[in-house]
Symmetry: C2
Subunit: 227 residues, 2 copies
Amino acid sequence: MNLRAIKAVTETQTRILDAAEDLFMQHGFEGASMRMLTAQAGVNLAAVNYHFGSKDALIEAVFRRRLDAMNTERIAELERLEKDAAGKALSPEAIIRAFIGASLRMIEDTRGGGRTFTRLLGRAYTEPAKPIRQLIGQMYATAMERFKAAFVRALPELPKDELVWRLHFMFGTLAYTLAATDTVQLIAGAKPEDRYDARVLEDRLAAFMSAGLLAPLAGTVNVRIAA
Amino acid sequence: MNLRAIKAVTETQTRILDAAEDLFMQHGFEGASMRMLTAQAGVNLAAVNYHFGSKDALIEAVFRRRLDAMNTERIAELERLEKDAAGKALSPEAIIRAFIGASLRMIEDTRGGGRTFTRLLGRAYTEPAKPIRQLIGQMYATAMERFKAAFVRALPELPKDELVWRLHFMFGTLAYTLAATDTVQLIAGAKPEDRYDARVLEDRLAAFMSAGLLAPLAGTVNVRIAA
DNA sequence: GTCTATATCATGATAGAC
DNA sequence: GTCTATCATGATATAGAC
């Protein structure tokens, strides 16, 4: 009888996943080695292959551990909003908050590694390696469709291709915020206590993103100074 | 007499820089090896160390080749605008265009490797390795200060810490756009001919970013549906 | 399930012939 | 300036004892 089928996650697996999260974030997927990883996890070098099969499978496990739950939470929040609205259109800002809230709340989780994961996630969005892009794409697919549909309903007058671009920009804003909140010196000017406060960050991000999403159409208001 | 002092950039150096740009973008700095790199450049394995001294020095050279010029161009464009305005305040959107224009125009340069570099650059913004962050930070420092001052002058009523956050968000939007324009599936819905048209992209980005920059202050307009 | 030991190959860097 | 050859180290992965 297979014990692993019952106790799906062992102590060793958790330690490996925690170390992998941290080291993939710091050094990238190719840059973080099995030796670094098993040393930091305090497990044997062979343990990764035993528990996960290969380095690539470990990468997938790292994302799967948190990302599936995160996107499920996003969709649940959106559906809660839609139910409460009872047929009325949602405000774009409310939809935005439903999308960004789950990831921002994770920033506050330093003990459980959530913050590390969000930084890894932000980095992974700009990862060109095909297998990783496909992996992330798959894991986001359902939530993306749901949210896109919600935005279409909330903004029926916005041309579809314009919406797609603006979703792209919004995604980028979030990705960079997740990845760089810890690192970038620009933010040095910001009050430290605000930096990781999910509520404050959500307010700031939601204000910025919804204004961008609702911007006047380019072409109709292109005022260039000295053009 | 040192010939390299006269002809600063040799054919071999250019080939190495081109290959490095491409492979650092694809595999990250740690993931791209000297062997890959010299093979793709069609030069000897020892050539990198001879011409650049080390892998780290090569990384710096890759950025320096284009980034210094890019930021000089940005500042020149800003100063041109300020001169034309003759003391009057610039519009935030004009300042934004001055900042993003130089990088977006580079996307169109497929032959010379500009597009590759912009993608590398977008990736590098989320790179946590300290030496690289410091390098990029240094190279941006002057331009950042100049542009921040311009925004302060254009938006005297916007609180400083709010401005800093919004600049951070704008930077993120641009970074992600540079890094992911080629890759992300979301954009699959966009017309392909628009995807790399710097003018179209600049219009879309400028509209999004300036709306975000001018958004009503968070806290004053936080309308939550079903809160 | 966990360990040691090892196979096989890639890594960055350099010494020294040409 | 360019090459080959080589060093010391580190890479992923696995076989087999416990």
